[in-house]
């Protein structure tokens, strides 16, 4: 114990101190990437919960007639379906382009909101039973692609950070192209 306390008091050399702080920063980034890798799956789970409520025709909401009386008439189911197709296409293209460019975009929870609104619009228009599987299919596809993109991005980040960590432990400093980035991060 005494020996450990003495070791703690010994000031680290500037190089070793910098190396330790870089190591801590890398480990923190790896932990963060590990946490973010599952965010797509959390969004997918939330969507499945919303879909379950829609499957049971939102029993806790007032009947569609009362909602229409207070909020005004909804668009026709055909119009909602057209918007759903455009939305699904755009969301998939957006997700694929983010995947292709390697853009960091952590969350896909906003899609759960959009899809819940589609369910509600169909509910008010009286077309939920006929169009349930279309919204479910759209949501499942978009969120699966988003989950895959987030997981892929985080896996690549974790892999890169592990390589940097190995390099740091070997040489005491980061690979040249990464030094600037982590210095800026600190």
């Amino acid at each position: 114990m005494e020996q450990a306390a003495k070791e703690k008091d010994i000031p680290l050399a500037p190089g070793a101190e910098r190396s330790a702080s870089l190591r801590a920063a890398l480990l923190a980034e790896i932990g963060e990437a590990r946490r973010q890798a599952n965010r797509g799956l959390y969004a997918l789970s939330l969507f499945l919960m919303v879909s379950t409520l829609a499957w049971r025709e939102f029993w806790f909401l007032p009947p569609p007639e009362r909602l229409v009386a207070s909020l005004g008439p909804p668009p026709r189911p055909m119009v909602i379906s057209l918007v759903l197709v455009v939305y699904t296409f755009s969301a998939i293209v957006l997700s694929l382009s983010r995947m292709m460019s390697g853009i960091k975009h952590k969350s896909s929870f906003c899609h759960v909101g959009y899809l819940a609104i589609f369910f509600l619009f169909y509910y008010c228009a009286g077309g939920l039973a006929d169009n349930y599987w279309a919204v479910f299919g759209a949501g499942f596809t978009i969120l699966c692609v988003e989950s895959y993109r987030i997981w892929n991005f985080c896996s690549a980040t974790i892999h890169r950070k592990h390589e940097q960590l190995a390099y740091l432990e070997r040489t005491g400093h980061l690979p040249p192209e990464e030094t600037e980035h982590l210095d800026g991060h600190e």
Partner: protein, 273 residues
């Protein structure tokens, strides 16, 4: 699976193509179903109109036997489940089913409540409002049309049985049609859609696999084989039939190996800069 290029390519392509097809086919099926059911309701409304026109003369003459015969004959037609005519008080005056005539129906029953929900019954209905769908005791899906029989000058002025001119509706016609054929057609459309979706998916996946194998995977395997063989066979020339990007990698590898070989062959040799 996720470590290999094929897995990394096929999974997103498969999910995207399958998902988008499911969405499009689900929406298309829903639109087709709506059109088919609307047409079916329009045809049923036309049929109800034909029945009313057919019975009009017999009603004016108060000829019960002719009316009974007309209703029985119509009900014998394939797909017609029931034909009933109710009077103003909700009593069945004529029915295709023996023994139903004279029975009183509940005003809160599904076919009646559309008009009788309020204090004053509604006298006009749109074609879609006249229709209702239910399952009969045999489990068959039936679409029924409830069409009002309006008072006309001939009815109000008829000598045989008098209706006051201010009475707008004299009774209702209720005709039930089997939806079996419509549902079978919809099931057939659904089956064809599943088939098209599966074929499209299989073709897309086959196309992606073929192109991927031809353009990326086969040349890469060649490059991998080359790197493995060249470790034992030092004078192996680099492969010359690789696509541009892989050819550049193969050439770089070949040059690097050659330089390393020259460096390793003797310390006296000059180093290239």
């Amino acid at each position: 699976m996720f470590d290999k290029i094929a897995g990394r390519v096929l999974i997103p392509v498969g999910v995207v193509v399958t998902g988008f097809l499911v969405v499009c086919f689900a929406l298309l099926y829903s639109a087709i179903k709506e059109v088919v059911l609307r047409d079916s309701i329009a045809q049923a409304n036309n049929l109800a109109g034909i029945v009313l026109k057919s019975t009009r003369f017999a009603m004016l003459k108060s000829d019960r036997d002719t009316n009974d015969a007309i209703i029985r004959n119509i009900a014998e037609q394939k797909g017609v489940q029931h034909v009933r005519i109710f009077n103003k008080k909700g009593v069945i005056s004529f029915s295709s089913k023996p023994g139903e005539a004279g029975q009183q129906v509940d005003i809160k029953a599904e076919g009646c409540v559309i008009c009788h929900a309020g204090k004053e019954p509604i006298t006009t209905l749109g074609p879609m409002q006249k229709a209702r769908t239910f399952k009969n005791v045999q489990g068959m899906t039936i679409m029924a049309i409830t069409a009002p029989i309006y008072n006309e000058p001939e009815c109000a002025n008829a000598a045989c049985h008098f209706h006051p001119a201010e009475q707008l509706v004299l009774g209702t016609l209720d005709i039930g049609l089997s939806q079996q054929t419509t549902l079978e057609s919809l099931a057939s459309i659904r089956g064809e859609m599943y088939l098209f979706a599966i074929l499209t998916l299989l073709l897309t996946m086959a196309g992606v696999i073929t192109v991927l194998k031809m353009i990326v995977l086969a040349p890469m395997q060649k490059l991998i084989d080359y790197t493995e063989i060249s470790q034992q066979q030092l004078d192996l020339p680099h492969p010359d039939d690789l696509p541009y990007e892989l050819d550049k990698i193969a050439k770089s590898y070949y040059l690097m190996k050659e330089r390393l070989g020259r460096l390793g062959s003797g310390p006296d040799e000059p180093r290239e800069r």
